[in-house]
């Protein structure tokens, strides 16, 4: 079971993620989108999408930090109050994101216009994310301090997977909510290329490094306004 969840699943998920994402970008480039439904419904989207996206992005950055600079995270946690601040902020963001996600789920299921453009996979993604946020929040609250032991256990585990020297045994004794959270991540990675999650890759980071542009209007705006 351990080998299945934390050895076979990760590599199957990574393979699917890479292969199908490349295929989709090459063969179906115009489907790489989340197919926004903002035109169809905006109010509930505001209270769902913004909390969900900001919460999840910040939390993922936290996970990434622990993956890249585990020693820094452990240094931060050496003072318990700092651990509480970090974990408490993470929990607040997680609950914010989770409530936002439930708003999104409610909106998609109840608004007839949004429901009409929804696919089965949209619901699958939403439900998987509910499981992921709930198990993560539960882990943070019940198995403190996640930030610290992530650096000690999860960072070596994830690097062992990425460097092809897998050590799934690192997770064998973990409590089930934690195992659910880790396996859930790999499931999300596996369905990534088949769903609206691909829109993550369209983050326009290119704007940060592209050459600047001058925008030239044909008429000056102020003059236009005066004339009116």
């Amino acid at each position: 079971m351990n080998a299945l969840l934390f050895l076979a699943l990760p590599y199957a998920a990574i393979s699917l993620f890479v292969a199908v994402t490349v295929y989709r970008f090459r063969e179906r480039p115009f489907t790489v989108s989340s197919l926004s439904s903002q035109l169809l419904e905006r109010k509930r989207l505001y209270w769902g999408s913004i909390p969900f996206h900001w919460g999840v992005v910040l939390i993922l950055l936290g996970h990434l930090t622990a993956l890249l600079v585990p020693r820094g995270v452990i240094w931060w946690g050496a003072v318990p109050l700092r651990s509480w601040l970090l974990e408490g902020s993470g929990a607040a963001l997680a609950l914010w994101a989770l409530v936002g996600l439930l708003v999104l789920l409610w909106r998609r299921a109840s608004d007839p216009r949004v429901r009409a453009v929804s696919t089965g996979m949209d619901y699958v993604v939403l439900l998987l994310l509910v499981v992921q946020l709930a198990s993560g929040l539960w882990t943070a609250a019940s198995y403190r301090f996640g930030s610290m032991w992530f650096a000690g256990v999860m960072t070596p585990y994830l690097w062992s997977i990425l460097t092809l020297r897998p050590r799934p045994e690192l997770l064998v004794d973990m409590a089930w909510p934690i195992q659910l959270h880790v396996a859930g991540f790999f499931v999300l990675l596996a369905v990534f290329p088949f769903t609206r999650l691909v829109h993550i890759l369209t983050l326009p980071l290119g704007y940060l490094v592209r050459p600047w542009q001058i925008v030239v209007w044909p008429r000056r705006a102020r003059a236009l306004r005066r004339r009116r």
Binding site: Y46, A91, M148
Partner: protein, 281 residues
């Protein structure tokens, strides 16, 4: 039956930390009690509980090299008896007959050596303040193991409590057989979760001595303040939920700043009024 329940409670309290909740033990260090033939000898069981037992010893063909402290001082004769009865009948152990109350048939256990009085090796004197720094993570373990505080709490380390993945270690010094036992436990770390991580990142002897000194200090401080028996949950009101319950509504309140900009769109107005232009005043 009431007696067996008492035995089960005693087991959870004193034995389960090492021998595990299901009596499965921990490979290499703490022998299993479920299906352990040595439990056939009631006198031997009582003797081990009272006087402790140090390895190496053989159980079921496997070798265990741990150190169990004597519990004779903490448990009364009746408690030792009910604990022994419980061990010999729990987890499918069929050693306790109907007359198990009074030290019955003693079958010598060939597989287990008799309880040897544990001869403590001269313990290197540890520095409790260094131990504290190692525990919290201020000082790194030389072989790269994560700090104790990642998963464990100690009373008064923080007013909010500490790590909760592992057990509260305030009185681990007493629970794990004081210096000798604790050294053994930390030398070959075999607890669930820890065994995987620490196998490749063992603690050095000096680090172990420092940690033992620190945990001795926390235990005696807890005794001095009369909090040794305190339920760890007393310190463990889960502040995480409070953070989340306060923080998430605040973050939602923050969204109100942008809400007025989410005014009615042209398409919404069109659907509502049937015309594109702004409604006439």
């Amino acid at each position: 039956m009431a007696r067996a329940a008492t035995g089960a409670e005693l087991y959870d309290q004193h034995c389960a930390a090492c021998h595990q909740a299901g009596g499965t033990g921990v490979p290499g260090v703490f022998p299993p009690l479920a299906g352990n033939a040595a439990l056939a000898d009631a006198e031997h069981v009582r003797s081990v509980i009272e006087k402790g037992l140090s390895g190496p010893l053989q159980v079921g063909g496997a070798t265990f090299d741990g150190s169990m402290p004597p519990f004779g001082a903490q448990l009364g004769a009746a408690e030792v008896q009910s604990l022994a009865d419980y061990l010999r009948s729990a987890w499918g152990n069929g050693f306790a007959g109907p007359s198990a109350g009074g030290g019955t048939a003693a079958t010598p256990a060939a597989s287990t050596p008799p309880a040897a009085p544990s001869t403590a090796p001269a313990a290197p004197a540890g520095d409790a303040s260094v131990g504290h720094a190692l525990f919290s993570g201020e000082l790194r373990f030389r072989n790269g193991a994560p700090p104790c505080s990642a998963c464990h709490a100690v009373q008064r380390e923080s007013p909010l409590g500490g790590g909760s993945m592992g057990r509260d270690l305030t009185t681990a010094y007493d629970r794990m057989g004081q210096s000798t036992g604790l050294q053994g436990v930390l030398k070959t770390i075999a607890f669930p979760v820890m065994r995987q991580t620490f196998a490749s990142h063992p603690l050095t002897d000096a680090e172990i001595a420092d940690l033992v000194a620190y945990l001795r200090e926390t235990a005696s401080a807890a005794h001095a303040h009369g909090t040794a028996g305190a339920d760890p949950a007393r310190f463990g009101f889960n502040w995480i939920w409070l953070f989340a319950a306060v923080g998430a509504p605040l973050l939602f309140a923050l969204l109100l700043i942008g809400w007025p900009r989410q005014r009615e769109s042209a398409s919404e107005r069109l659907r509502r009024t049937g015309r594109v232009g702004r409604p006439r005043r």
